[in-house]
Symmetry: C2
Subunit: 272 residues, 2 copies
């Protein structure tokens, strides 16, 4: 999906919500555990109930790998279901991969070609040749970790190299790489005040913003400092939506939670 198509979908749905499909068997309604594929059953219900209010889904791959082969099967079924039923929705494999070039190429093929995700999250520590293989796919994106939402972001990401924070250097340097227009960046909502500086370096690139909700980031701050003229934001919420209820109507309640966020986003978009 191109940036333009993504923006068009956002404006049509009045939402830039991404729903994180971080499915933990210990947190889903227990009655689902007797189903043949509890993870897929949960995802299908969540997707059917929330798709009107969001423009993207983001399974975090850790939660699928934790279930071994069953987890991979559920991941495949989930992305296939999404492509079949809601082909207009953007998909993110939250995998945070990155390796030497020939190995990154394997990961890129797995997530962007074989599984058919629109994008994959990538760690920048190993530099240019570890990221560029993810940028070789037309109308697909690599979403580079820049400033993450966790406490550990202050260990290295905000440390200064020649007066410039590492995360800014990652953004600036990565913009010189081949196919840099296919880059998006992870910027945690818990650090919304940093967005003004970030927008000076990348006024238009999409930012994937986790940390709204459970981790304490505020949507209005993210929008105030992060919205670009093409919207340029995907705001992720996982636990606050998908685990809003453990009852049999969990999907309905997840839908209602997603709708609340969608309405707040519609308000923000009105001010564009």
């Amino acid at each position: 999906m191109s940036n333009q198509e993504l923006t068009e979908q956002i404006l049509k749905k009045k939402s830039f919500l991404c729903v994180g499909l971080d499915v933990d068997l210990e947190k889903i309604p227990t009655y689902l555990l007797s189903e043949e594929d509890p993870i897929f059953s949960f995802n299908k219900a969540i997707i059917d109930a929330t798709h009107k209010f969001c423009v993207a889904y983001k399974p975090n791959i850790a939660f699928y790998e934790a279930n071994g082969i069953d987890g991979w099967k559920a991941l495949e079924k989930t992305i296939n279901y999404l492509h079949q039923e809601y082909p207009e929705i953007y998909s993110i494999a939250d995998a945070k991969r990155g390796d030497i070039g020939n190995t990154s190429r394997m990961y890129a093929k797995t997530f962007l070609k074989d599984l058919g995700f629109d994008s994959v999250t990538v760690a920048p520590y190993m530099g240019k040749d570890s990221v560029e293989p993810f940028l070789e796919f037309e109308n697909k994106h690599a979403i580079l970790l820049a400033l993450t939402s966790n406490e550990g972001a202050f260990d290295f990401q905000t440390q200064k190299i020649d007066g410039e924070e590492l995360y800014k250097k990652v953004i600036r340097v990565s913009q010189t790489w081949e196919n840099a227009d296919r880059l998006m960046y992870v910027i945690g909502a818990t650090k919304a005040e940093f967005l003004t500086e970030i927008r000076k370096i990348i006024p238009e690139n999409f930012l994937l913003v986790p940390g709204v909700g459970t981790q304490g980031g505020k949507l209005e701050d993210v929008c105030k400092y992060g919205l670009s003229k093409n919207v340029g934001l995907l705001v992720n919420s996982s636990r606050k939506i998908i685990y809003a209820s453990e009852s049999s109507n969990f999907a309905e309640i997840a839908g209602a939670k997603a709708e609340i966020l969608q309405r707040q986003m519609a308000e923000e978009l009105r001010q564009l």
Copy 2:
């Protein structure tokens, strides 16, 4: 496996060789492709032929994920075979994972508990809380990316923060984390000259050194600057061993290649 047990195995076998099981279906002997599980058949043959000359195996997870469910099955079979047949050998899941704390915890459980690897490689970009969950397992290790063997290492890792290169800061800061004695570090053989400085910060921690062979690093340089009093080195070779031949006696030739490296290592150990 504890550091001490690993050192004892090294001294007994006179080898600190790690064989990288980076199995690419396009590179293995074509006659294996007709077998039920070509990846496992290849690994089994390589392991049986090389186990006398090495102390560790390191499957790079990208190569398994690239084959989806079949890849995961082959990975499980490989690690189970290793545990059953050669329980004294150290195992490394080369996964280069790292995420926010509760998600890193899932990855740690997957590789260190469920699959039962002795260690997993971890990316440091997201800081302390992304790494510590990998350090909660007794007699297991997290192997932190510090200075990698690829060209992209110069993009960020060697950049200076307050006069100190990022990779050194990663090593130094990570040594203050909980259970830091369970940390090993990835240091590329292509940058052996950096080892003197690294040994000043961590005189005893094990270093996993890739890049000997195909990537051009030299074993004698790695030993000259990297050997500690407890050996403290695992030197990895992948393609130069496992793809040394495409003929039906590929495993035998891989064994011979491993033995050549083992003999060089025995020489180096004699000088300890």
